[in-house]
């Protein structure tokens, strides 16, 4: 039998299943059931993304980590075979390709020097210094929630404003601009958004960030974007347009995922009151709890990649030029690395999860995300011990067929 025939038998399906796959388990939190089947069989298969391209879906933890550190696996969004996980206009596709050049679409050796320009802004110590500000924001929002009507939509009163205001503070955006950030970012999360609307919203955000960067180039302020402008005067690595792209990346990446994780994290703990109680009793419990919630929900399912050379996974030889979807949601429920992965257990050690990715592109804002989640969960469950869902969980509008898992509305009362 030739290798090609073996490949066909192993993974190339005549009618590839669609990606994103629906979360079809009994619980809305379960990743698609096919992932477990693929992991157990040790297989990769080809799937079809909304843009019509096919890509290899990788779901095992060890394969995911190995591929994300393989120099033959490229993040270059300009490659025509790079799979996109949602339907986009040709203009949006061109923008994704271009703005990937600001950071997330770069391979080595180009990636390192550009990432290094951001690293000082996200050190553990720098994020520690932001904690009092985040705490102040969260305290104020919970005051407002408690003074407002019941039931309240937690997604509106907490999950959206916490990351939006934190980003305003971190990046150095005027506080009054937070409304635009919340509105455009929330619009992009809407499940019903059309490719045209997505392009329009993105263009509106681009115009805003373009003006902001222009202002900071004239008069650099003492904040992340201001310091980035100054650092760029020394390195000259970015032109104006890519600097705007980098700021857009920080806004989008810092909002959407944290927003989802706040809503889902609260729901997860409300479903496990005994675990919420651990957080109320022991302030130190929230750190490990956040990593377990990150693992359990792994809100970014898969990252797109493209192969620069032939790479073997199991019985399959994936060829140069093939697209890949590297599934973090698959990896973080791999029972060879996390015992009983379908159980939420905030007392377990889950720090080795890949909810923030792996390899050189691992989330640069991960410690900011951890700080936001720790502060929100500890403060909310301590201050509002009677918090509960105002509707049955089955009635909540989970985004269960998108690459970024989330929920549109979280009705709560207390």
């Amino acid at each position: 039998m030739t290798q090609d025939i073996a490949d066909t038998a192993a993974g190339e399906l005549a009618d590839p299943p669609e990606f994103p796959m629906r979360r079809d388990g009994g619980c809305p939190f379960d990743p698609p059931s096919r992932y477990k089947q693929l992991r157990d069989e040790g297989r990769v298969i080809q799937v079809r993304v909304p843009t019509g391209q096919t890509a290899w879906l990788v779901t095992r933890y060890d394969d995911v980590r190995r591929l994300l550190t393989d120099p033959l696996v490229s993040a270059d969004r300009r490659h025509p075979n790079m799979p996109l996980t949602e339907e986009v206009t040709p203009q949006t596709r061109a923008n994704i390709a271009e703005f990937g050049r600001s950071l997330i679409g770069l391979d080595q050796p180009e990636h390192g020097p550009r990432r290094r320009m951001l690293i000082p802004e996200f050190t553990v110590r720098r994020i520690q210094a932001l904690r009092p500000h985040i705490q102040h924001t969260v305290d104020g929002l919970i005051d407002d929630m408690l003074a407002g009507p019941k039931p309240a939509d937690l997604a509106t009163v907490l999950s959206t404003p916490v990351p939006a205001r934190t980003l305003c503070e971190l990046l150095g955006m005027p506080y009054e601009d937070r409304e635009l950030i919340e509105r455009t970012a929330a619009a992009q999360l809407r499940r019903s958004i059309s490719p045209q609307e997505r392009q329009q919203v993105s263009a509106e955000m681009y115009r805003y960030v373009d003006q902001l960067i222009t202002a900071k180039e004239k008069e650099p302020t003492d904040d992340l974007l201001g310091r980035l402008v100054l650092r760029n005067r020394e390195t000259g690595l970015y032109d104006h347009r890519l600097l705007v792209g980098l700021a857009m990346l920080l806004l989008v990446a810092g909002f959407e995922t944290t927003n989802s994780m706040i809503s889902l994290g609260v729901i997860g703990l409300l479903q496990h009151p005994e675990q919420a109680e651990l957080i109320r009793k022991d302030p130190a419990a929230v750190g490990p709890a956040v990593d377990e919630l990150l693992r359990y929900f792994t809100v970014v399912d898969a990252l797109p990649r493209v192969l620069l050379g032939d790479v073997q996974v199991g019985d399959v030889t994936m060829r140069a030029g093939d697209g890949l979807l590297i599934s973090f949601a698959g990896a973080d429920w791999d029972d060879r690395f996390f015992a009983e992965p379908e159980q939420l257990d905030i007392t377990r050690t889950s720090r080795h999860h890949v909810a923030f990715g792996y390899g050189i592109h691992q989330c640069i804002g991960q410690n900011l995300a951890r700080a936001e989640l720790e502060i929100v969960l500890r403060t909310l469950f301590t201050r509002v011990p009677t918090l509960r869902l105002a509707e049955p969980m089955e009635a909540l509008p989970f985004r269960d067929d998108t690459n970024i898992f989330g929920v549109d509305r979280v009705p709560v009362t207390w």
């Binding site: 994300l68 390192g112 990432r115 951001l118 080795h352 390899g359 050189i360 410690n367 951890r370």
Partner: protein, 66 residues
Amino acid sequence: MTGAPRLVVNEDLCVGAGQCVLSHPELFDQDDTGQVVVFPGGPVGPEVAPVVADLCPSGALSLARD
């Protein structure tokens, strides 16, 4: 292979994810450029070395056996 695993540091590969600092703040730190991992707490023992090498996403921390 003999002996306990030893931690090898390649600062050029560091991407500033901060996994080592978060996991063992008594042993790891980032300087003002954020890139460099330093060791205010002295040598990294054979229990900690495999843990931080596994958590490090970029290969800046890896294991070697003498």
